[in-house]
Amino acid sequence: MPTRKATSKHPTDVRAGEGHHRPPWRVVDTVVLATLGVAFGVVFWAWNLLWTATGPAFTAFPPAQAFMYGVWLLPGVLGMLVVRQPGAAVLTMLVASLVSALLGSAWGLQVVWYGVLEGLAPEIVFALFAYRRFGAAVATLAGAAAGLTAGLLDWFYYYRDWASGWVFSYVGVVVLSAAAVAGLGAVALVRALAATGVLDAFPAGRRRTLV
């Protein structure tokens, strides 16, 4: 390996996607995103177990349900914040939903069609900002977009005959929960992950103070 200087010496450059030249996807980007998706699949599965185990304590606690809808939409936004590559949100969400399907979600592969669309929504938000902005505001917007898609899909598929008042409040709750949990929650999780040093090889980890 002849002498070669790293392309980015200034951590702040990274945020701007290294000028106009975005580095190509690396193997580690794909595998880590897919593994994060698998981990979220495990989280959803564990949540279901927790739900059944604690029973009344949770079912009588609606915020927990809204919270979990947000968690379900988290992987897409989080994946994008970690690797900052076009397609990251869709890939992470696809794998998370695929794992849910494999672990025996009632809906079979349909969860995956859902997952793809719910990953596509934040993907579009990040694309609108040309994959250059990965701050809290854009992440919140991306989370909200995922929530809107999820709410509309639910309405279209399950609740088509609901009275419109119910539909509006349902979609509204999902959007708010998604903006808070999937959007801001993803920002907080990525920050906490970066502090552990595991993201050092990714854009999200590069703004950490040198140790």
Partner: protein, 252 residues
């Protein structure tokens, strides 16, 4: 944890399990989407009947389907119940339509999970659908980590108890403990994912370099028949519904 060994597939044998995974996927997808777009009760009802018949022909044992598919039936019942309570007009008809629709749309997807082998699917995606090997095999390799991460989750829970942390029956505390455990699992996932990527590159995996496929397969007549069976069955269901005069689409 054998239920978590997701790469241990297919679970069924027979025609559907033998055919190209992409063919099965195409059939399931087209069938599911077309039925989802129909707004009447007859189309999904006919489709459901045809789907069950196709399963029998395709070699999926009904016992296996019952074991794996009962959560779907339960969830469909739940959807029916909410329709009964919240529908604006004619709750009973709404409820029946909702249940049949949910079953007919989801069933093909459940069957895919029973008949598709992930390794073959990855091969097929790369060879036929031109998906990049990085995405297909990277994801496939990560799926192998599922049982490990599930064990990891359990260990993290035990370790929390060992450190004196439990939430008891307090849901707010439970959410906080849960969030901390999620973060710890994500740390473990990134570590393992990074190591797995290194191992793959150490085996010469390079997205930019040419590579071969060790398990080549030709497209067979069965594959084509399976792929075409999806749209064909959907069309048949729509035709029956139209003939009885009940067909309407979701946008009409």
């Amino acid at each position: 944890m054998s239920a978590l060994a997701v790469t241990e597939r297919p679970l069924a044998e027979g025609l559907l399990a033998r055919s190209d995974p992409l063919a099965t996927l195409t059939a399931a997808f087209s069938l599911g989407v077309l039925v989802a777009l129909s707004g009447d009760a007859v189309t999904p009802a006919v489709a459901l009947g045809l789907e069950l018949a196709a399963l029998v022909v395709g070699g999926v044992p009904l016992g296996l389907l019952a074991r794996r598919g009962w959560p779907l039936a339960a969830s469909a019942a739940g959807v029916g119940l909410t329709a009964l309570l919240l529908a604006a007009v004619d709750p009973v008809a709404s409820a029946i339509t909702a249940v049949v629709r949910v079953l007919a749309v989801a069933l093909p997807g459940v069957v895919v999970l029973l008949t598709v082998d992930p390794t073959e699917l990855a091969d097929s995606l790369v060879v036929r659908a031109r998906v990049s090997p990085r995405t297909a095999y990277g994801t496939l390799a990560a799926l192998r980590l599922l049982p490990l991460l599930a064990t990891e989750w359990r260990m993290l829970g035990l370790a929390r108890r060992a450190r004196g942390i439990d939430a008891g029956r307090n849901p707010v505390a439970a959410l906080r403990v849960f969030t901390g455990q999620v973060l710890a699992l994500l740390v473990a996932a990134v570590r393992r994912g990074t190591r797995l990527a290194t191992a793959m590159e150490a085996r010469g995996f390079d997205p930019a370099a040419p590579r071969t496929v060790a398990r080549p397969r030709a497209v067979s007549r069965t594959d084509l028949a399976v792929a075409l069976a999806g749209p064909a069955l959907a069309a048949l269901a729509v035709a029956v519904s139209a003939a009885t005069g009940s067909l309407h689409w979701v946008w009409s």
